[in-house]
């Protein structure tokens, strides 16, 4: 029997491995197939069944597609556009802020005093109490809180206090995402209601940016930290400013990480349901809400839902295919040798 090379599998092993792989692929791909054929089934065919093969088990019909695109028309188009605008804008914002924050945490050394943080929380508490007590409006309460904070920090600047570091800040940022966003849904709702931006793009974009930014920091921190620092030091000696180094050295070298993280954030924003439900009614409705809304009083209308699901998936799949090469490099990112 021929000697087997290391890593080469015996025919039996190959059979088992490929069976498992094909099996799992079916498990993953079948729901997608099912959604696509459900979108061309008549209501009756969805109820009877299951019918697996179009033209053989059942005759496909485009009635659901016609309904969604023609009859509903702008009622379909608007949420789709909203989703596009909201997801892309919040992703760009979250990436911008998050990447800068991650780079700062990776390269700069912060040592905030614990005392200052405590004073901030105290001032925050006072401001909240002032609003809650109804004595003053929120602008005055905010200004007072800020003034209290600044004055107390200046007054106590000579008092010794233990200092925190980058690791603490990083953990604090990441811990914001450990908290389920829905916990803050009601307070955010009331806050936006007071400001008067409910049911607008702005409200949802702000919320998504805030919620996703910790993820960006979490992921990009490692990518930035793994870039050899002597590349940046060399650029510094060559005369580049910190911002120029970030733009011309760090970002290009972190492209795989940026692509992977952007896609993740985009998908999270695109699919997000609960916060969008809280913060929108009609004008800023997003696609996930429209899909869920097909669950009308007459029971779930699977055929319409399937059409919406198909058009909801398409942009994400296309984007993933486009970025696939970059992302694979990012996931396998090993040592970057200068």
């Amino acid at each position: 029997m021929r000697e087997r090379r290391l890593g080469e599998m015996s025919p039996l092993t190959k059979l088992v491995v490929y069976t498992l792989l094909i099996g799992w692929s079916l498990v993953v791909l079948f729901p997608l197939y099912w959604v696509v054929i459900t979108s061309v089934k008549l209501p009756g065919q969805v109820g009877d069944g299951p019918d697996y093969l179009p033209f053989i088990d059942f005759m496909p019909s485009l009635h659901a597609w016609r309904y969604i695109f023609v009859d509903l028309g702008s009622d379909t188009f608007r949420p789709y556009l909203n989703s596009l605008i909201i997801a892309s804008t919040s992703t760009v914002l979250a990436m911008s802020v998050g990447a800068c924050a991650a780079y700062a945490l990776a390269r700069l050394h912060f040592r905030p005093r614990l005392l200052s943080i405590v004073l901030f929380l105290v001032a925050l508490g006072i401001g909240v109490w002032m609003i809650g007590s109804g004595l003053v409006g929120w602008p005055i309460a905010a200004a007072s809180g800020l003034a209290i904070f600044v004055i107390s920090v200046l007054a106590l600047s000579r008092v010794r206090s233990p200092r925190l570091g980058n690791a603490d800040i990083l953990f604090w940022v990441i811990s914001q995402r450990i908290l389920p966003p829905v916990v803050a849904a009601l307070p955010i709702y009331i806050m936006f209601q007071q400001i008067g931006i409910l049911d607008t793009h702005l409200a949802i974009i702000l919320t998504y940016t805030t919620v996703n930014m910790p993820i960006v920091v979490w992921l990009m921190y490692d990518f930035f930290a793994s870039i050899p620092i002597d590349i940046e030091e060399s650029a510094e000696l060559d005369g580049a400013s910190r911002f120029r180094i970030f733009r011309e050295m760090v970002l290009p070298l972190a492209k795989p990480g940026l692509a992977a993280t952007s896609l993740l954030v985009l998908i999270l924003s695109w699919n997000e349901y609960l916060l969008a439900l809280f913060l929108s009614t009609a004008k800023a409705q997003t696609i996930p809400l429209l899909v869920a809304a097909q669950n009308a009083t007459r029971g779930p209308q699977w055929w319409y839902m399937s059409v919406l699901i198909v058009i909801m998936i398409v942009p994400v799949v296309l984007l993933t295919i486009l970025l696939q090469r970059l992302i694979a490099k990012g996931l396998l990112l090993g040592a970057v040798k200068g």
Partner: protein, 365 residues
């Protein structure tokens, strides 16, 4: 332009890395900072570059006090040990980057890049990327990038250590030549004493953050300031014998050596280089012992001898700390031969003797 470290100290928290380092280079001098890992040499270099701040002391470049000046404004160029080439830029873009940051015109950048690339024989490789280059080529790119700036000083952090031995020797010569032609003050960090001896106008030897000696290669070889320097420079290292000194002679269990020094000392270390010793007949010699091994180096034979009674020692650089070295080394002509374990005697040349006090300081007459 001279580079001055004016009593510079550096501590990271409680750890003191450099203590009161005081070095002034000449204009156009090639100064080597030599030392083992942890000696503080790289920290000193980074402080000249401005990549580390000083805990105390000043850094001057020319007449300018640059202690508080940002690295990019110090007009120094650094070659890193890993070369720190920009992986996403071509060779031409790497070399031209400092000029681009400075805002030079496209045409001017191309011209200067071409000029420097020709000087280091990179003109055929300008469109390649760092990952497509060999180690030696990458090193030349790093050098070219430093040269194109015509800085006040070059700083080099062990730039040859990533090259194979043959290329290293070749690049050493090239570096020296280039520095000589350009006349730019260079501060060069290395742990390799051969590099230091061959490249430097002067060498500053550091150990645990303290300057041991600053001198020309000849001075540190012939006239070491302490036992650490004596043991660090020279290959094989200087032989050291631990003993007493009285009546103009050094005495220990292996024998006595006339030194001519009229001092009485309880604890003294006698240092003598292998080339200042000779193996002779054991009956009339100063020292005696047994031949442990013979190694043909090529142009000479290195004989290792285990001395009677006493054990040769090696100073670790810390006060009063000696560790034992197994054998005494003697350089003999290349045709020397003798049976292993034969009884031999060793005579030393008086002018080669270096005496050190009990705590390692050099005793000068």
């Amino acid at each position: 332009m001279t580079v001055v470290l004016d009593r510079v100290s550096k501590s990271f928290g409680r750890v003191e890395v450099l203590r009161e380092l005081d070095v002034t280079t000449g204009d156009g001098e090639f100064l080597v900072l030599l030392g083992a890992s942890g000696s503080g040499k790289t920290t000193a270099l980074r402080m000249i570059a401005g990549l580390e701040s000083t805990t105390s002391g000043r850094v001057l470049i020319g007449e300018r006090d640059v202690t508080q000046v940002l690295p990019k404004n110090r007009d120094v160029a650094m070659v890193f040990q890993s070369y720190a080439l920009y992986p996403h830029k071509s060779v031409a873009e790497n070399i031209g980057y400092p000029l681009r940051v400075r805002g030079e015109s496209r045409g001017e950048i191309d011209r200067q890049v071409g000029e420097v690339a020709a000087q280091v024989q990179l003109d055929a490789l300008l469109e390649r990327y760092p990952r497509q280059l060999s180690g030696g080529q990458r090193q030349r790119v790093a050098l070219a990038r430093a040269m194109v700036r015509r800085p006040a000083a070059f700083l080099m952090d062990e730039p040859l250590s990533n090259l194979d031995a043959k290329l290293r020797g070749h690049m050493r010569t090239e570096l020296r030549r280039m520095q000589h032609d350009l006349g730019i003050t260079t501060v060069y960090v290395t742990h390799d004493q051969i590099e230091a001896m061959t490249l430097a106008d002067r060498v500053a030897i550091l150990e645990q953050g303290v300057l041991q000696q600053l001198g020309t290669p000849r001075e540190i070889y012939e006239d070491p300031a302490n036992l650490f320097v004596a043991g660090f420079i020279g290959s094989p290292p200087m032989n050291q014998l631990h003993g007493r000194h009285e009546n103009g002679r050094f005495v220990n269990e292996a024998g006595t050596i006339d030194t001519g020094l009229q001092r009485t000392l309880d604890r003294v270390t006698l240092g003598i280089r292998p080339e200042d010793c000779r193996i002779v007949d054991a009956s009339t010699s100063a020292l005696s012992g047994r031949l442990y091994a013979l190694e043909l180096i090529g142009d000479h034979v290195l004989a290792s001898v285990t001395l009677d009674g006493s054990v040769p020692v090696k100073h670790t650089g810390k006060t009063d700390a000696f560790i034992t070295a197994d054998t005494f080394a003697v350089k003999m002509p290349k045709d020397y031969a003798a049976p292993i374990d034969a009884r031999v005697g060793i005579d030393v040349a008086v002018e080669g003797i270096r005496l050190f006090s009990g705590d390692g300081e050099r005793l000068r007459r």
